[in-house]
Protein backbone atom coordinates (compact mmCIF):
# COMPACT_ATOMS: atom_id res chain seq x y z
CA UNK A 1 0.00 0.00 0.00
CA UNK A 2 1.51 3.38 -0.96
CA UNK A 3 1.68 6.48 1.24
CA UNK A 4 -1.12 8.33 -0.61
CA UNK A 5 -3.53 5.44 -0.09
CA UNK A 6 -2.68 5.41 3.62
CA UNK A 7 -3.34 9.17 3.87
CA UNK A 8 -6.76 8.73 2.24
CA UNK A 9 -7.78 5.59 4.14
CA UNK A 10 -6.66 6.50 7.67
CA UNK A 11 -9.31 9.21 8.29
CA UNK A 12 -12.00 6.91 6.81
CA UNK A 13 -11.02 4.07 9.12
CA UNK A 14 -10.97 6.55 12.01
CA UNK A 15 -14.49 7.80 11.17
CA UNK A 16 -15.78 4.24 10.91
CA UNK A 17 -14.27 3.50 14.34
CA UNK A 18 -16.07 6.48 15.90
CA UNK A 19 -19.38 5.13 14.60
CA UNK A 20 -18.68 1.60 15.81
CA UNK A 21 -17.54 2.83 19.23
CA UNK A 22 -20.88 4.63 19.66
CA UNK A 23 -22.88 1.60 18.64
CA UNK A 24 -21.04 -0.65 21.06
CA UNK A 25 -21.53 1.51 24.13
CA UNK A 26 -24.99 0.48 25.27
CA UNK A 27 -26.38 -2.96 24.52
CA UNK A 28 -29.90 -3.15 23.22
CA UNK A 29 -32.56 -5.25 24.93
CA UNK A 30 -34.01 -8.17 23.12
CA UNK A 31 -33.82 -11.89 23.09
CA UNK A 32 -30.47 -13.28 22.15
CA UNK A 33 -29.74 -16.95 21.69
CA UNK A 34 -30.35 -18.84 24.92
CA UNK A 35 -27.22 -19.84 26.80
CA UNK A 36 -26.48 -23.53 26.51
CA UNK A 37 -27.67 -25.48 29.53
CA UNK A 38 -25.52 -28.05 31.25
CA UNK A 39 -27.02 -31.33 32.49
CA UNK A 40 -27.94 -29.61 35.76
CA UNK A 41 -28.86 -26.04 34.91
CA UNK A 42 -26.97 -23.38 36.84
CA UNK A 43 -28.39 -20.35 38.61
CA UNK A 44 -26.26 -17.41 39.70
CA UNK A 45 -27.09 -15.39 42.78
CA UNK A 46 -25.39 -12.01 42.40
CA UNK A 47 -25.71 -10.06 45.62
CA UNK A 48 -24.64 -6.47 46.34
CA UNK A 49 -22.67 -7.39 49.47
CA UNK A 50 -22.04 -10.26 51.82
CA UNK A 51 -20.64 -7.92 54.41
CA UNK A 52 -24.09 -7.47 55.96
CA UNK A 53 -25.97 -10.36 57.61
CA UNK A 54 -29.26 -9.31 56.00
CA UNK A 55 -27.86 -9.83 52.50
CA UNK A 56 -26.23 -13.08 53.58
CA UNK A 57 -29.71 -14.31 54.51
CA UNK A 58 -31.06 -13.10 51.16
CA UNK A 59 -28.29 -14.86 49.21
CA UNK A 60 -28.32 -18.04 51.30
CA UNK A 61 -32.09 -18.40 51.03
CA UNK A 62 -31.98 -17.86 47.26
CA UNK A 63 -29.22 -20.45 46.98
CA UNK A 64 -30.95 -22.96 49.22
CA UNK A 65 -34.34 -22.62 47.54
CA UNK A 66 -32.99 -22.72 43.97
CA UNK A 67 -30.94 -25.75 45.02
CA UNK A 68 -34.08 -27.48 46.25
CA UNK A 69 -35.68 -26.76 42.90
CA UNK A 70 -32.90 -28.72 41.20
CA UNK A 71 -30.32 -26.13 40.18
CA UNK A 72 -26.59 -25.81 40.73
CA UNK A 73 -26.29 -22.47 42.47
CA UNK A 74 -23.29 -20.16 42.87
CA UNK A 75 -23.30 -16.96 44.90
CA UNK A 76 -21.31 -13.95 43.64
CA UNK A 77 -20.50 -11.03 45.94
CA UNK A 78 -20.36 -7.60 44.23
CA UNK A 79 -18.93 -6.00 47.40
CA UNK A 80 -21.09 -2.92 46.75
CA UNK A 81 -18.89 -2.17 43.74
CA UNK A 82 -20.64 -1.68 40.37
CA UNK A 83 -17.41 -2.58 38.52
CA UNK A 84 -17.19 -5.91 40.36
CA UNK A 85 -20.87 -6.49 39.65
CA UNK A 86 -20.27 -5.93 35.91
CA UNK A 87 -17.42 -8.45 36.02
CA UNK A 88 -19.67 -10.99 37.79
CA UNK A 89 -22.22 -10.61 34.98
CA UNK A 90 -19.53 -11.10 32.32
CA UNK A 91 -18.48 -14.25 34.11
CA UNK A 92 -22.05 -15.52 34.45
CA UNK A 93 -22.83 -14.83 30.79
CA UNK A 94 -19.66 -16.57 29.63
CA UNK A 95 -20.24 -19.57 31.92
CA UNK A 96 -23.64 -20.65 30.61
CA UNK A 97 -25.85 -19.87 33.61
CA UNK A 98 -29.57 -20.35 33.01
CA UNK A 99 -30.80 -17.48 35.21
CA UNK A 100 -29.65 -14.78 37.61
CA UNK A 101 -31.21 -13.95 40.98
CA UNK A 102 -29.96 -10.43 41.37
CA UNK A 103 -29.60 -7.90 44.15
CA UNK A 104 -28.27 -4.77 42.39
CA UNK A 105 -25.72 -2.29 43.65
CA UNK A 106 -27.10 0.72 41.78
CA UNK A 107 -30.58 1.48 40.42
CA UNK A 108 -29.20 3.10 37.26
CA UNK A 109 -25.72 1.62 37.02
CA UNK A 110 -26.93 -1.98 37.18
CA UNK A 111 -29.34 -1.67 34.24
CA UNK A 112 -26.61 -2.29 31.64
CA UNK A 113 -25.63 -5.55 33.34
CA UNK A 114 -29.20 -6.82 33.30
CA UNK A 115 -29.54 -5.85 29.65
CA UNK A 116 -26.33 -7.70 28.78
CA UNK A 117 -27.69 -10.84 30.43
CA UNK A 118 -31.02 -10.42 28.66
CA UNK A 119 -29.23 -10.08 25.32
CA UNK A 120 -27.45 -13.34 26.07
CA UNK A 121 -30.81 -15.01 26.76
CA UNK A 122 -30.32 -15.15 30.54
CA UNK A 123 -33.37 -14.04 32.53
CA UNK A 124 -32.72 -11.83 35.56
CA UNK A 125 -34.92 -11.60 38.66
CA UNK A 126 -34.23 -8.64 40.94
CA UNK A 127 -34.53 -9.11 44.68
CA UNK A 128 -35.08 -6.34 47.22
CA UNK A 129 -33.40 -3.58 45.21
CA UNK A 130 -34.85 -1.98 42.11
CA UNK A 131 -33.33 -1.06 38.76
CA UNK A 132 -34.73 2.00 37.01
CA UNK A 133 -35.92 0.15 33.92
CA UNK A 134 -39.03 -1.92 33.42
CA UNK A 135 -37.94 -3.73 30.26
CA UNK A 136 -34.73 -5.40 31.37
CA UNK A 137 -35.36 -7.80 34.27
CA UNK A 138 -38.12 -10.43 34.02
CA UNK A 139 -39.43 -9.34 37.41
CA UNK A 140 -38.44 -7.29 40.45
CA UNK A 141 -39.51 -8.38 43.92
CA UNK A 142 -39.11 -5.28 46.04
CA UNK A 143 -39.64 -4.28 49.63
CA UNK A 144 -42.14 -1.45 49.99
CA UNK A 145 -39.53 0.73 51.66
CA UNK A 146 -41.51 3.95 51.43
CA UNK A 147 -44.56 2.60 53.26
CA UNK A 148 -42.34 0.88 55.81
CA UNK A 149 -40.61 4.15 56.60
CA UNK A 150 -43.88 6.07 56.74
CA UNK A 151 -44.92 3.70 59.54
CA UNK A 152 -41.48 4.04 61.12
CA UNK A 153 -41.71 7.85 60.87
CA UNK A 154 -45.09 7.85 62.59
CA UNK A 155 -43.71 5.66 65.38
CA UNK A 156 -40.62 7.91 65.59
CA UNK A 157 -42.84 10.95 66.26
CA UNK A 158 -44.81 8.98 68.86
CA UNK A 159 -41.63 7.93 70.70
CA UNK A 160 -39.41 11.00 70.32
CA UNK A 161 -42.22 13.54 70.50
CA UNK A 162 -43.05 16.45 68.23
CA UNK A 163 -39.86 18.34 69.07
CA UNK A 164 -36.21 17.38 69.40
CA UNK A 165 -32.96 16.94 67.49
CA UNK A 166 -32.15 13.93 65.38
CA UNK A 167 -29.60 12.53 62.96
CA UNK A 168 -30.24 10.52 59.79
CA UNK A 169 -27.76 7.98 58.45
CA UNK A 170 -28.40 7.31 54.76
CA UNK A 171 -27.47 4.18 52.81
CA UNK A 172 -25.82 4.02 49.38
CA UNK A 173 -26.78 7.20 47.56
CA UNK A 174 -27.14 5.42 44.20
CA UNK A 175 -29.73 2.97 45.54
CA UNK A 176 -33.45 3.74 45.26
CA UNK A 177 -34.06 2.01 48.60
CA UNK A 178 -31.97 4.69 50.31
CA UNK A 179 -34.21 7.46 49.00
CA UNK A 180 -37.51 5.62 49.30
CA UNK A 181 -36.73 5.02 52.97
CA UNK A 182 -35.55 8.57 53.56
CA UNK A 183 -38.51 10.09 51.72
CA UNK A 184 -41.04 7.87 53.51
CA UNK A 185 -39.55 8.86 56.86
CA UNK A 186 -39.41 12.56 55.99
CA UNK A 187 -42.95 12.54 54.56
CA UNK A 188 -43.99 12.19 58.20
CA UNK A 189 -41.27 13.78 60.31
CA UNK A 190 -40.96 16.95 58.24
CA UNK A 191 -44.53 17.80 59.16
CA UNK A 192 -43.31 18.56 62.68
CA UNK A 193 -41.17 21.70 62.38
CA UNK A 194 -39.84 21.39 65.94
CA UNK A 195 -38.19 18.07 65.05
CA UNK A 196 -34.83 19.29 63.75
CA UNK A 197 -32.49 17.12 61.69
CA UNK A 198 -29.03 18.30 62.76
CA UNK A 199 -27.05 15.97 60.48
CA UNK A 200 -27.76 13.75 57.49
CA UNK A 201 -24.85 11.65 56.25
CA UNK A 202 -24.33 8.51 54.21
CA UNK A 203 -22.71 5.50 55.83
CA UNK A 204 -23.27 3.26 52.78
CA UNK A 205 -25.46 0.74 54.67
CA UNK A 206 -22.25 -0.32 56.45
CA UNK A 207 -21.92 -0.95 60.19
CA UNK A 208 -18.26 0.12 60.48
CA UNK A 209 -18.84 3.31 58.49
CA UNK A 210 -21.92 4.09 60.59
CA UNK A 211 -19.82 3.78 63.73
CA UNK A 212 -17.27 6.24 62.33
CA UNK A 213 -19.90 8.67 61.04
CA UNK A 214 -21.86 8.56 64.29
CA UNK A 215 -18.75 9.21 66.37
CA UNK A 216 -18.02 12.30 64.26
CA UNK A 217 -21.64 13.46 64.38
CA UNK A 218 -21.74 13.10 68.18
CA UNK A 219 -18.68 15.31 68.50
CA UNK A 220 -20.50 18.14 66.75
CA UNK A 221 -23.97 17.35 68.15
CA UNK A 222 -23.71 15.93 71.66
CA UNK A 223 -27.33 16.73 72.54
CA UNK A 224 -29.30 14.72 69.98
CA UNK A 225 -32.45 12.81 70.96
CA UNK A 226 -32.63 10.20 68.22
CA UNK A 227 -31.00 8.66 65.17
CA UNK A 228 -32.83 7.22 62.19
CA UNK A 229 -30.74 4.74 60.19
CA UNK A 230 -31.56 3.56 56.67
CA UNK A 231 -30.73 -0.02 57.63
CA UNK A 232 -30.08 -2.18 60.66
CA UNK A 233 -26.34 -2.58 60.04
CA UNK A 234 -26.00 1.19 60.38
CA UNK A 235 -28.32 1.12 63.42
CA UNK A 236 -25.93 -1.36 65.05
CA UNK A 237 -22.95 0.87 64.22
CA UNK A 238 -24.74 3.97 65.53
CA UNK A 239 -25.77 2.13 68.71
CA UNK A 240 -22.16 1.02 69.22
CA UNK A 241 -21.00 4.66 68.96
CA UNK A 242 -23.68 5.72 71.44
CA UNK A 243 -22.65 3.01 73.92
CA UNK A 244 -19.01 4.12 73.60
CA UNK A 245 -19.98 7.72 74.32
CA UNK A 246 -22.33 6.80 77.18
CA UNK A 247 -25.38 8.20 75.38
CA UNK A 248 -27.13 4.93 74.54
CA UNK A 249 -29.76 5.34 77.28
CA UNK A 250 -30.73 8.84 76.14
CA UNK A 251 -30.61 8.64 72.33
CA UNK A 252 -33.33 6.59 70.64
CA UNK A 253 -32.14 4.44 67.72
CA UNK A 254 -34.37 3.43 64.79
CA UNK A 255 -33.27 1.00 62.08
CA UNK A 256 -34.71 -0.70 59.04
CA UNK A 257 -34.41 -4.31 57.76
CA UNK A 258 -35.49 -6.54 60.63
CA UNK A 259 -32.09 -8.15 61.13
CA UNK A 260 -31.73 -10.66 63.91
CA UNK A 261 -29.36 -8.61 66.10
CA UNK A 262 -31.55 -5.51 65.97
CA UNK A 263 -34.74 -7.47 66.71
CA UNK A 264 -32.92 -8.89 69.73
CA UNK A 265 -31.89 -5.38 70.89
CA UNK A 266 -35.49 -4.17 70.45
CA UNK A 267 -36.63 -7.00 72.73
CA UNK A 268 -34.01 -5.86 75.27
CA UNK A 269 -35.22 -2.24 74.99
CA UNK A 270 -31.94 -0.96 73.56
CA UNK A 271 -33.12 -0.09 70.05
CA UNK A 272 -36.60 1.42 69.60
CA UNK A 273 -37.90 0.05 66.30
CA UNK A 274 -37.11 -1.31 62.86
CA UNK A 275 -38.99 -2.09 59.66
CA UNK A 276 -39.19 -5.83 59.08
CA UNK A 277 -38.42 -6.69 55.50
CA UNK A 278 -38.79 -10.27 54.44
CA UNK A 279 -35.53 -11.36 52.75
CA UNK A 280 -36.44 -15.04 52.84
CA UNK A 281 -39.81 -14.41 51.23
CA UNK A 282 -38.21 -12.27 48.50
CA UNK A 283 -35.44 -14.79 47.81
CA UNK A 284 -37.87 -17.73 47.69
CA UNK A 285 -40.21 -15.84 45.35
CA UNK A 286 -37.32 -14.93 43.03
CA UNK A 287 -36.08 -18.54 42.93
CA UNK A 288 -39.58 -19.85 42.23
CA UNK A 289 -40.08 -17.25 39.49
CA UNK A 290 -36.79 -18.26 37.84
CA UNK A 291 -37.82 -21.91 37.97
CA UNK A 292 -41.22 -21.15 36.44
CA UNK A 293 -39.60 -19.02 33.73
CA UNK A 294 -37.14 -21.75 32.82
CA UNK A 295 -40.08 -24.16 32.56
CA UNK A 296 -41.81 -21.89 30.05
CA UNK A 297 -43.96 -19.51 32.10
CA UNK A 298 -43.76 -15.91 30.84
CA UNK A 299 -46.52 -14.30 32.88
CA UNK A 300 -44.77 -12.23 35.56
CA UNK A 301 -45.61 -8.79 36.91
CA UNK A 302 -42.61 -6.51 36.38
CA UNK A 303 -42.69 -5.36 40.02
CA UNK A 304 -44.05 -7.11 43.07
CA UNK A 305 -43.97 -5.00 46.24
CA UNK A 306 -43.45 -6.82 49.53
CA UNK A 307 -45.01 -5.18 52.58
CA UNK A 308 -42.69 -4.01 55.38
CA UNK A 309 -43.94 -4.34 58.97
CA UNK A 310 -43.07 -2.12 61.92
CA UNK A 311 -41.34 -3.97 64.76
CA UNK A 312 -41.24 -2.34 68.20
CA UNK A 313 -41.18 -3.45 71.80
CA UNK A 314 -44.95 -3.98 71.82
CA UNK A 315 -44.95 -6.59 69.05
CA UNK A 316 -41.34 -7.82 68.86
CA UNK A 317 -42.41 -11.24 70.15
CA UNK A 318 -44.13 -11.92 66.81
CA UNK A 319 -40.88 -11.50 64.87
CA UNK A 320 -37.56 -13.22 64.55
CA UNK A 321 -35.29 -14.94 62.07
CA UNK A 322 -35.85 -12.28 59.39
CA UNK A 323 -39.62 -12.49 59.31
CA UNK A 324 -42.80 -13.20 61.23
CA UNK A 325 -42.43 -16.21 63.48
CA UNK A 326 -45.56 -17.94 62.24
CA UNK A 327 -45.18 -16.94 58.57
CA UNK A 328 -41.56 -17.68 57.73
Amino acid sequence: MNRTSLRVMSPSVFLLFILLAGCGGDPTPGGGAPAPLSATPKIAVIVSTLNNPWFVVLADTAKEHAGRLGYDVTVFDSQNDPAKEAAQFENVIASGYAAVLFNPTDADGSIANVRRAKEAGIPVFCMDREINATDAAVSQILSDNYSGCVALGQYFVKQVGESGKYVELLGLVGDNNTWNRSKGFHSVVDRYPELKMVAQQSADFDRAKALEVMEAVLQANPDIDAVFCGNDAMAMGAYQALVASGKDKRVKVFGFDGSEDVVKLIAEGKIVATGMQFPKLMARTAAESADKYLKGDRDFPQKTPVAVELVHQGNVGKYGDYGRKEAE
Partner: protein, 215 residues
Protein backbone atom coordinates in the same frame (compact mmCIF):
# COMPACT_ATOMS: atom_id res chain seq x y z
CA UNK B 1 13.59 9.38 8.14
CA UNK B 2 11.99 11.89 5.73
CA UNK B 3 9.79 14.66 7.09
CA UNK B 4 6.76 13.23 5.20
CA UNK B 5 7.21 9.83 6.76
CA UNK B 6 7.59 11.43 10.22
CA UNK B 7 4.35 13.38 9.71
CA UNK B 8 2.56 10.19 8.70
CA UNK B 9 3.79 8.38 11.83
CA UNK B 10 2.79 11.30 14.11
CA UNK B 11 -0.60 11.52 12.45
CA UNK B 12 -1.22 7.77 12.71
CA UNK B 13 -0.16 7.74 16.37
CA UNK B 14 -2.50 10.64 17.15
CA UNK B 15 -5.42 8.95 15.42
CA UNK B 16 -4.63 5.66 17.15
CA UNK B 17 -4.60 7.37 20.56
CA UNK B 18 -7.85 9.15 19.77
CA UNK B 19 -9.38 5.83 18.68
CA UNK B 20 -8.43 4.19 21.99
CA UNK B 21 -9.85 7.17 23.88
CA UNK B 22 -13.09 7.04 21.90
CA UNK B 23 -13.41 3.32 22.46
CA UNK B 24 -13.61 3.90 26.21
CA UNK B 25 -15.44 7.24 26.02
CA UNK B 26 -17.58 7.25 22.85
CA UNK B 27 -19.01 10.58 21.72
CA UNK B 28 -22.54 9.12 21.58
CA UNK B 29 -24.50 5.97 22.37
CA UNK B 30 -26.94 4.31 20.02
CA UNK B 31 -29.99 3.19 22.05
CA UNK B 32 -33.37 1.84 20.95
CA UNK B 33 -36.17 4.38 20.89
CA UNK B 34 -38.17 2.55 23.58
CA UNK B 35 -35.24 2.84 25.99
CA UNK B 36 -34.67 6.49 25.11
CA UNK B 37 -38.40 7.11 25.54
CA UNK B 38 -38.44 5.44 28.94
CA UNK B 39 -35.47 7.53 30.09
CA UNK B 40 -37.16 10.66 28.86
CA UNK B 41 -40.46 9.83 30.61
CA UNK B 42 -38.59 8.97 33.82
CA UNK B 43 -36.68 12.22 33.67
CA UNK B 44 -39.79 14.33 33.13
CA UNK B 45 -42.30 12.59 35.37
CA UNK B 46 -44.56 15.23 36.89
CA UNK B 47 -46.56 13.90 39.87
CA UNK B 48 -48.63 17.09 40.15
CA UNK B 49 -49.84 16.89 36.55
CA UNK B 50 -50.37 13.13 36.87
CA UNK B 51 -52.50 13.51 40.01
CA UNK B 52 -54.43 16.43 38.49
CA UNK B 53 -55.74 14.27 35.70
CA UNK B 54 -55.99 11.13 37.86
CA UNK B 55 -58.12 12.96 40.42
CA UNK B 56 -60.73 14.31 38.02
CA UNK B 57 -60.72 11.69 35.29
CA UNK B 58 -60.33 8.48 37.28
CA UNK B 59 -60.61 8.86 41.05
CA UNK B 60 -63.82 10.88 41.40
CA UNK B 61 -65.69 8.82 38.77
CA UNK B 62 -64.63 5.60 40.53
CA UNK B 63 -66.66 6.33 43.69
CA UNK B 64 -69.52 4.06 42.66
CA UNK B 65 -67.15 1.05 42.67
CA UNK B 66 -66.58 1.34 46.42
CA UNK B 67 -68.21 -1.18 48.77
CA UNK B 68 -71.03 0.13 50.94
CA UNK B 69 -69.72 0.85 54.44
CA UNK B 70 -72.68 -0.70 56.31
CA UNK B 71 -72.32 -3.89 54.27
CA UNK B 72 -68.57 -3.99 54.99
CA UNK B 73 -68.86 -3.32 58.73
CA UNK B 74 -71.47 -6.07 59.06
CA UNK B 75 -69.35 -8.47 56.97
CA UNK B 76 -66.23 -7.80 59.08
CA UNK B 77 -68.19 -8.45 62.29
CA UNK B 78 -69.40 -11.75 60.92
CA UNK B 79 -66.13 -13.09 59.48
CA UNK B 80 -62.96 -11.01 58.94
CA UNK B 81 -61.41 -13.37 56.44
CA UNK B 82 -64.58 -13.76 54.39
CA UNK B 83 -64.94 -9.95 54.34
CA UNK B 84 -61.33 -9.63 53.20
CA UNK B 85 -61.86 -12.16 50.41
CA UNK B 86 -65.07 -10.49 49.27
CA UNK B 87 -64.13 -6.82 49.52
CA UNK B 88 -60.39 -6.44 50.30
CA UNK B 89 -57.54 -5.65 47.96
CA UNK B 90 -53.94 -6.70 48.46
CA UNK B 91 -50.89 -5.27 46.73
CA UNK B 92 -47.94 -7.57 46.13
CA UNK B 93 -46.84 -9.94 48.88
CA UNK B 94 -47.48 -9.56 52.58
CA UNK B 95 -50.33 -9.20 55.01
CA UNK B 96 -51.38 -5.60 54.32
CA UNK B 97 -54.66 -5.07 52.50
CA UNK B 98 -57.14 -2.28 51.72
CA UNK B 99 -60.84 -1.55 51.58
CA UNK B 100 -62.28 0.92 49.08
CA UNK B 101 -65.43 2.06 50.86
CA UNK B 102 -68.27 4.57 50.59
CA UNK B 103 -71.32 5.42 52.66
CA UNK B 104 -73.07 7.70 55.06
CA UNK B 105 -72.66 7.98 58.82
CA UNK B 106 -73.70 10.05 61.79
CA UNK B 107 -71.02 11.97 63.69
CA UNK B 108 -70.73 10.53 67.22
CA UNK B 109 -67.21 11.69 68.14
CA UNK B 110 -64.85 14.47 67.09
CA UNK B 111 -61.18 13.90 67.93
CA UNK B 112 -58.05 15.96 67.20
CA UNK B 113 -57.19 13.99 64.04
CA UNK B 114 -60.38 12.14 63.18
CA UNK B 115 -64.16 12.25 63.05
CA UNK B 116 -65.95 9.18 64.41
CA UNK B 117 -69.07 7.99 62.61
CA UNK B 118 -71.72 5.42 63.45
CA UNK B 119 -72.83 3.80 60.21
CA UNK B 120 -75.17 1.04 61.40
CA UNK B 121 -78.75 1.93 62.31
CA UNK B 122 -79.43 2.33 66.00
CA UNK B 123 -75.79 2.12 67.14
CA UNK B 124 -73.81 4.85 68.93
CA UNK B 125 -70.38 3.22 68.71
CA UNK B 126 -67.74 4.65 66.34
CA UNK B 127 -67.50 2.17 63.48
CA UNK B 128 -65.63 4.42 61.07
CA UNK B 129 -63.03 7.10 61.78
CA UNK B 130 -62.48 9.59 58.97
CA UNK B 131 -58.92 10.92 59.10
CA UNK B 132 -58.76 14.71 59.50
CA UNK B 133 -55.10 15.22 60.51
CA UNK B 134 -51.93 14.82 58.45
CA UNK B 135 -52.33 12.14 55.80
CA UNK B 136 -49.39 9.77 55.41
CA UNK B 137 -48.61 6.67 53.40
CA UNK B 138 -50.13 4.97 50.37
CA UNK B 139 -53.66 4.21 51.55
CA UNK B 140 -55.46 6.08 48.81
CA UNK B 141 -52.89 5.38 46.09
CA UNK B 142 -53.09 1.63 46.65
CA UNK B 143 -56.58 1.22 48.08
CA UNK B 144 -58.71 1.95 45.02
CA UNK B 145 -56.93 -0.40 42.61
CA UNK B 146 -56.75 2.37 40.02
CA UNK B 147 -52.96 2.78 40.17
CA UNK B 148 -50.42 0.03 39.69
CA UNK B 149 -46.72 0.08 40.56
CA UNK B 150 -46.03 -1.39 37.12
CA UNK B 151 -47.50 1.65 35.38
CA UNK B 152 -44.73 3.95 36.65
CA UNK B 153 -41.06 3.64 35.67
CA UNK B 154 -39.57 3.66 39.16
CA UNK B 155 -40.68 3.44 42.76
CA UNK B 156 -39.54 6.94 43.69
CA UNK B 157 -41.95 8.40 41.13
CA UNK B 158 -44.69 6.03 42.29
CA UNK B 159 -44.16 7.16 45.88
CA UNK B 160 -44.23 10.80 44.78
CA UNK B 161 -47.84 10.13 43.71
CA UNK B 162 -48.74 9.28 47.30
CA UNK B 163 -47.31 12.56 48.58
CA UNK B 164 -49.22 14.49 45.95
CA UNK B 165 -52.51 12.66 46.53
CA UNK B 166 -52.18 13.05 50.31
CA UNK B 167 -51.40 16.76 49.93
CA UNK B 168 -54.43 17.24 47.73
CA UNK B 169 -56.69 15.55 50.30
CA UNK B 170 -55.30 17.78 53.05
CA UNK B 171 -55.85 20.91 50.95
CA UNK B 172 -59.16 20.15 49.26
CA UNK B 173 -61.08 17.60 51.33
CA UNK B 174 -60.17 17.91 54.99
CA UNK B 175 -60.96 21.61 55.62
CA UNK B 176 -64.62 21.16 54.69
CA UNK B 177 -64.78 17.81 56.51
CA UNK B 178 -63.56 19.47 59.71
CA UNK B 179 -66.13 22.23 59.34
CA UNK B 180 -69.03 19.76 59.05
CA UNK B 181 -67.77 17.58 61.92
CA UNK B 182 -70.42 18.42 64.50
CA UNK B 183 -71.94 15.72 66.70
CA UNK B 184 -75.20 14.54 65.19
CA UNK B 185 -74.39 15.73 61.65
CA UNK B 186 -74.63 13.30 58.76
CA UNK B 187 -71.63 12.93 56.43
CA UNK B 188 -71.34 11.09 53.13
CA UNK B 189 -67.82 9.90 52.34
CA UNK B 190 -65.76 7.87 49.90
CA UNK B 191 -62.24 6.71 50.70
CA UNK B 192 -59.90 3.87 51.58
CA UNK B 193 -58.80 2.05 54.72
CA UNK B 194 -55.48 0.27 55.16
CA UNK B 195 -55.46 -2.88 57.28
CA UNK B 196 -52.03 -3.71 58.69
CA UNK B 197 -53.10 -5.31 61.97
CA UNK B 198 -56.60 -6.79 61.99
CA UNK B 199 -56.76 -6.55 65.79
CA UNK B 200 -56.55 -2.75 65.71
CA UNK B 201 -57.42 -1.56 62.20
CA UNK B 202 -60.88 -3.08 61.68
CA UNK B 203 -62.69 -1.50 64.61
CA UNK B 204 -62.98 1.30 63.83
CA UNK B 205 -62.04 1.36 60.15
CA UNK B 206 -59.74 4.37 59.71
CA UNK B 207 -60.62 5.90 56.37
CA UNK B 208 -58.67 8.39 54.29
CA UNK B 209 -61.49 10.18 52.43
CA UNK B 210 -61.28 11.81 49.01
CA UNK B 211 -64.94 12.81 49.08
CA UNK B 212 -66.63 14.13 52.24
CA UNK B 213 -69.90 16.06 52.04
CA UNK B 214 -73.27 16.54 53.61
CA UNK B 215 -75.77 14.34 51.74
Amino acid sequence: MTSGRRRLIICSTAMGSAAVLLYFMPLFHVVPLEVAGQRSVAATFDPVAFVDSFWTERLLPSADRAVDVATLVAAVREDRQAAKRAHGRSVGLGGVYYYFVAGTGRVVAVEKNSVGLAVLDGEQQVQVALETGNIFGNTLRDGTGLLDVNDIANSQDFNALSSEINGRIEREVLPSLRSMAVTGATIRFVGCAEIVDEDTDLQPLRIVPFIAETP
